[in-house]
Amino acid sequence: MGSIFSIQQVINGLQVGSIYALIALGYTMVYGIVRLINFAHGDFFMLGAYAAYGTFFVFNALIVSKSGVTAFFVLLASMAAGGIIALLTNQLAYRPLRYKPKLSSLITAIGVSMFLEYFLSALPMVGPSYRPFPDVIPRVNIKIGTATISNIVIIDILVAAVLMVGLTLLVKKTALGKAMRAVSQDKDAARLMGIDIEKGIAFTFLIGGAFAGAAGLLAGMTYPRIFPYMGIQPGLKAFIAAVLGGIGNIPGAVLGAYIMGLAETFASAYNSLIGEGIAFAILIVVLLVRPTGLLGEKTADKI
């Protein structure tokens, strides 16, 4: 039993959870405002990783002393790539269908996701192969008693925490955040307040995509191997985490992500066969007990 619930396993679970959290944050924002399962979100994550990869090599070639400057631009590139592609996807594929049945945009979302994956995989200079991700920041392992934690894991956890707090403040305290919440709750009413909801939605995609991009960079640093289909599984898991925490709820997404990370870790440590299904099992149990997720707001159906 010791090896199942040891400090090391807790650290392992937190690491897995923080990557899920980073993707889930953007996922839950976008879902909250357009109520669309954005299948392409995991691909924005993947694009962020590739943008970071490319930028790293360009900067390494240009600048002799790497370190800080490179890391900054790599982060910028990953966020820009994720954000801009998310924005473009919204404008080209989702916006024209905004007032059509919601499921038609779901299919375009699937189409966009397939396109991004297959396109990158077919593109000669990218290709389907696994690419070794460089150490943007040198990796240092820190010993805590019998457990080991790497500086990358600490960065992951910190970034997830900072982004969560920042996003919560943005949404709760700023006028822009309130407008975003208004749009997510009632689009017509928001328009009647003079809010340009398309701008609000576009902004949300930009932020959500940028977060996904940053998550791609961090995932690349944590698990130094990237490929065009790398977004599918984490995207799915992050979506589950977002639903688990209560979709549209920012702390909920992070909570859901860490619950999933820890549950998967403990389950795999207990018996590797059940590790794979545990995320789904937890999800089903939670939703059956609390259909709006752990922290989801109860909005009763009114006649």
Partner: protein
């Protein structure tokens, strides 16, 4: 009293069946085309049965291939491990059909189980839970060594052929058509349109949702069984959520709630995906561009986006062809 008339669907199906048989036996149509037709027909069963759950009753399910997996594994286990049917023995065919139906029934039982969350959950929440169920089913098969685990269930006899698959697709169409054009179907539609209102006028929504899930799952199980006996194997990775999404694409491209649309889309998308093999090669050969099969899916994805952007309601909208609708006798 309704006058007896040979239904249009039966006539059209019979003609198509005979034409395809003749074309194939005269070798005008090669085995490849026939294989794509077989595959399309299996997709017809999957799409029409998913449409019953998703399009008609409005219960967003993302785990449809999980039902197909149950059908494939149950029927495949029966024919290859339990009955150990020798295809040449005289009672092989009845046993095979028995196995396929058993697979469908097993899937229906699972369908009832999965139908229950739909009583509590709606929309995207239901979608993610059905997706979860589908993935769990897949994981379970992946971990049972008796049915091959990650090696897959191998050595399934090749029983599926064009007449059998055609008959199964025809039966699926007739059953689902008759169902949705009956009072049951109208009850299901009313759940999709407004569940609360349906309840208020006294429709037992629980009953109809579970009914949609179990019947939909039954036919998905049949399709899974037929596929397994066409490929001679069943493998867990064939039934993942990406495959469920492919079926979903078919019903939306065809038009939600239209089984005519699902049927056409199942054929159109299967032939499109195959046609692109030849198309991409032709482009590469004529232009000299260094493009290969890896571009096929890029084009497919783009076409999918364009279909949804420019034909949002799907190919058929929610209309049915006159071939599908039941004629009212004058």
């Amino acid at each position: 009293m309704k006058k007896f008339r040979l239904p249009r669907l039966l006539i059209v199906s019979a003609v198509l069946f005979v034409v395809i048989q003749i074309l194939h036996s005269r070798e005008i149509m090669n085995g490849y085309i026939l294989h794509i037709i077989n595959q399309s027909l299996i997709y017809v069963i999957l799409a029409v049965s998913l449409n019953l759950i998703n399009g008609i009753t409005g219960q967003f399910s993302l785990g449809h291939m999980g039902f197909a997996a149950v059908g494939a594994y149950v029927s495949g286990t029966l024919t290859s491990l339990v009955f150990k049917i020798n295809p040449s023995s005289p009672n092989a065919m009845p046993l095979f059909i028995l196995a396929i139906v058993a697979g469908g029934l097993a899937a229906a039982v699972i369908g009832i189980l999965i139908g229950f969350p739909s009583l509590r959950l709606k929309g995207d929440y239901l979608a993610i839970v059905t997706l979860g169920f589908g993935e769990i089913i897949r994981t379970v098969f992946n971990n049972i060594d008796y049915v091959g685990g990650p090696r897959g269930l191998l050595g399934i006899p090749k029983f599926s052929n064009f007449p059998i698959i055609f008959a199964a697709a025809f039966i699926t169409l007739v059953v689902v058509r008759n169902l949705i054009q009956s009072s049951h179907g109208r009850a299901m539609l009313s759940i999709r349109e407004n569940e609360l209102a349906a309840e208020l006028v006294g429709i037992d929504t629980t009953h109809y949702k579970v009914m949609a899930f179990s019947i939909g799952a039954f036919f998905a199980g049949i399709a899974g069984g037929l596929l397994a006996h066409l490929l001679t194997l069943a493998h867990p990775t064939q039934y993942g959520f990406i495959k469920s999404v492919e079926i979903l694409i078919m019903i939306y491209a065809g038009g939600v709630g239209s089984i005519t649309g699902s049927t056409i889309a199942a054929f159109a998308l299967t032939f499109l995906s195959e046609g692109l093999r030849i198309g991409i090669r032709a482009i590469a050969d004529t232009t000299g561009l260094p493009i290969g099969g890896e571009w096929r899916m890029v084009v497919y994805a783009l076409l999918l986006i364009f279909i949804m952007l420019f034909r949002t309601e799907g190919l058929m909208g929610n209309k049915e062809s006159r071939i599908i609708t039941i004629e009212e006798a004058d």
